[in-house]
């Protein structure tokens, strides 16, 4: 036992935070994280996987879109056109169930059984055979999912144009599928009609929003685990018996997750830019900067949750319980404007609401600090409020 008087050991400073305190917690947390490579891989890859999967489900790689057909022509040329649609893997036609009228076709789409309908008018083959002028076909698209509708429209037009082109080329070379007509330069003109959402505005809306939500959820979850895990395993009890400051503990715990969260953010932004080919109209660095603030706010929410929960399962439940309603009222799916005022009050308490505005503003409209400084201010305010609240709550709990 060495000689030491009680006075010597009294902590010299009463500062809220100390570097050594934060550093010891940070180092310990880092070692523990790295010792669990599965967790690290999980944290890093999960947001990317989620973004890709969700993004794909919404926009890319659409296949086997069921098409309802109203063939009022029923002659050779129209059958050729339907074959062209058949040959693409994108559309799928049920040849046994053609309908006879546009009303029936619209009904099929309204019921949600088909996303798209093709109407070939009477006299289509005649016009092709005549070899000149143009003829119309009508494409009717369900606009509920703006991205899907857009893709369908593009694909249908491309298939028709390609078909017209092939037909001309074949006729010119003489080995045509329509042997009787010789040369045909009839242009097939597709008319598209979008049902329910004619402007198709949501296209670039979704991916940045999904990114925001995924990062929000993951960050909250992993941070809330950070302290709940120590409580669950009992290590918090031993930790609390030491003179560590609560603020040091909180900050030291949060830093590794902030670093991971930010890395994740950059990776998912990369996925958004290169995989989904969404260009950021505004400044990439400004977006990174705002994302840091957003991540810190999410971390603070996670911390607050972890001061309340006894187990990791509870933390997951609470996180999801908070997150699902906030998806509905943050403007991710539904616009805020028509919401009743008492819902709006909650909406404007959510950090997600502000960050959705920020990321969409930067990505789509090219906004910068001059438009978004208020959002930034509020986010900063919310994160300090939440951090303070979790430190306060935590202090009370062990005393």
């Amino acid at each position: 036992m060495s000689d030491s008087s009680p006075q010597e050991k009294k902590p010299a400073s009463r500062a809220l935070l100390t570097f050594s305190g934060i550093y010891s917690i940070f180092r310990k947390e880092l070692i523990q994280l790295l010792r669990d490579p599965f967790l690290v891989a999980f944290i890093v890859t999960l947001p990317i996987i989620q973004l890709v999967v969700t993004g794909l489900a919404i926009s890319k790689d659409l296949k086997h879109i069921e098409m309802i057909v109203c063939n009022q022509d029923k002659k050779n040329a129209s059958i050729e056109l339907l074959k062209a649609f058949d040959n693409s893997t994108f559309f799928e036609i049920d040849h046994n169930n053609y309908v006879d009228s546009d009303e029936e076709l619209n009904r099929g789409i309204r019921k949600g059984k088909f996303r798209v309908g093709l109407t070939i008018p009477p006299g289509y083959s005649e016009q092709i055979l005549s070899g000149k002028g143009h003829t119309n076909v009508n494409i009717t698209i369900d606009g509920t999912h703006a991205n899907i509708a857009k893709t369908i429209k593009g694909m249908a037009i491309a298939i028709i144009e390609n078909h017209t082109h092939e037909q001309m080329k074949a006729s010119a070379l003489g080995h045509t599928a329509l042997p009787l007509i010789g040369l045909s330069s009839t242009i097939v003109q597709p008319n598209t009609k979008i049902l329910y959402n004619p402007e198709l505005k949501a296209s670039w809306f979704l991916i940045p929003g999904i990114l925001a939500i995924i990062m929000h959820m993951m960050t909250i979850l992993f941070t809330s685990f950070a302290i709940v895990r120590e409580r669950e395993t009992g290590t918090l009890e031993q930790l609390m018996a030491t003179p560590i400051r609560v603020a040091d503990l909180m900050v030291g715990k949060v830093i590794p997750y902030a670093v991971i969260g930010f890395l994740d953010m950059v990776l998912t932004l990369g996925v958004m830019i290169w995989f989904f080919e969404i260009n950021i109209s505004g400044s990439f660095w400004f977006l990174c900067f705002t994302s840091i603030v957003f991540i810190v706010t999410s971390l603070a929410i996670g911390l607050l949750i972890s001061t309340t929960c006894r187990s990791q399962v509870q933390a997951v439940q609470l996180t999801l319980g908070l997150l699902l309603p906030s998806l509905l009222i943050s403007g991710f799916v539904f616009p805020l404007e028509p919401m009743p005022w008492f819902v709006k009050i909650f909406s404007y308490c959510l950090p997600l609401t502000y960050y959705l505005d920020i990321i969409r503003g930067v990505v789509i409209k090219g906004n910068g600090l001059s438009e978004l400084w208020q959002h930034m201010l509020i986010l900063t305010f919310l994160s300090s409020l939440l951090l303070g609240a979790s430190i306060f709550r935590f202090k009370k709990q062990i005393a």
Binding site: G234, A241, T242
Partner: protein
């Protein structure tokens, strides 16, 4: 460990009417304890009697519902941070990091306690040697056996040279040799001026403490030096005598003896029975009565009560008291039976 003059006169631990409730339940009820510096205080009691709760309050991990507690001369409510730098705490359940190695755990805790630099390294080496965890330094916490986990926990609780150490069932999962070694270590710590507050379920450990307290159903029933406790009136009584009786078969004999009308109490202790009879029944008469009851007597001798006798007797008295309280709430003016004559 020389103590600073200001705190020298203060007892290491002192509680006054300390109470902790969990909702309706009382975990610790009006606890009054005074533990001097350099003492090894053994805290005993059945499961759920409030031992761990008491320790957690003294370490500032739980706030008392009412009452006062002073540790190292300082009120636990006033300056818990300061107290934490003076005390070591070894929880009942292993509470170090299972995914850190032994060295990393020790490193982490020494940093938190500010044991750093050259002096810190010397101290760390010293403690590791003292506790003997050096050969496992590369093992992860989860790879250690129960006993070695306890030692690692002890190491982390000692690293900052605390004045007072709280050990919650430190020997619960230790083998006999390790238990002996740990107690040797505790004695050497105590002799250097460290105060030890140890909970245990082992009577032999209790006998080695300089003072013990027995808590039953949240109430401190008795406290004092082990020898003093054996003199408690309820246990010894002037008018009865305790005998150790060896006989076969044990359980059958137990039932027969219990039925003898003047026998006040029978308890099975290992391979023998402890029987309490009124003082006017001498050994000769008892021997005769046992024979005529058909018991194959091997040996009989008068004995002093052991610590276990003290606790068993007081627990029985308290169970009876609690039952009476339940049946007749009016008699609540009568105090609970206890040996609190010896509260120091």
């Amino acid at each position: 460990m020389p103590l600073a003059a200001t705190n020298d006169m203060q007892p290491a631990i002192m509680t006054e009417n300390l109470v902790r409730r969990f909702g309706e339940n009382i975990a610790v009820n009006n606890l009054n304890l005074t533990i001097s510096r350099g003492e090894i205080f053994g805290f005993l009691g059945p499961n759920g009697s409030g031992k761990s709760t008491t320790i957690k309050m003294l370490c500032g991990l739980l706030s008392p519902t009412s009452g006062q507690a002073r540790v190292a001369g300082i009120d636990v409510n006033k300056d818990p941070e300061y107290i934490r730098s003076k005390i070591g705490y070894m929880p009942q359940k292993f509470s170090l990091y299972e995914d850190l190695t032994v060295t990393e755990n020790i490193e982490f805790y020494s940093k938190l306690y500010g044991v750093t630099g050259h002096a810190g390294n010397i101290r760390k080496k010293e403690v590791i040697e003292l506790v003997g965890v050096g050969k496992y330094h590369k093992h992860l916490g989860r790879e250690l056996s129960g006993g070695w986990k306890q030692r690692l926990a002890l190491c982390c609780a000692l690293v900052h040279n605390p004045e007072i150490i709280f050990l919650d069932e430190p020997t619960a999962s230790m083998d006999p040799v390790a238990r002996r070694e740990l107690w040797d270590l505790l004695f050497s710590l105590a002799s250097s001026g460290v105060t030890l507050f140890v909970t245990t379920h082992y009577m032999d450990e209790a006998e080695r403490c300089s003072s013990v307290g027995y808590i039953y159903n949240s109430r401190l029933i008795v406290s004092g030096g082990p020898d003093e406790l054996k003199q408690v009136r309820e246990v010894v009584g002037q008018d009865n005598q305790r005998y150790e009786i060896a006989c076969r078969p044990l359980v059958a004999s137990f039932n027969i003896i219990k039925a003898i009308e003047y026998v006040e109490d029978v308890t099975i202790f290992g391979q023998a029975l402890h029987v309490v009879v009124p003082a006017h029944i001498n050994e000769h008469q008892l021997r005769h009565d046992l024979h005529s009851a058909g018991i194959a007597l091997q040996s009989i001798r008068p004995i002093e009560p052991s610590l276990e006798d003290v606790f068993v007797t007081l627990t029985k008295a308290n169970i009876k008291y609690d039952e009476e309280m339940r049946q007749n709430r009016l008699s609540s003016l009568r105090p609970a039976p206890s040996g609190v004559a010896h509260v120091r």
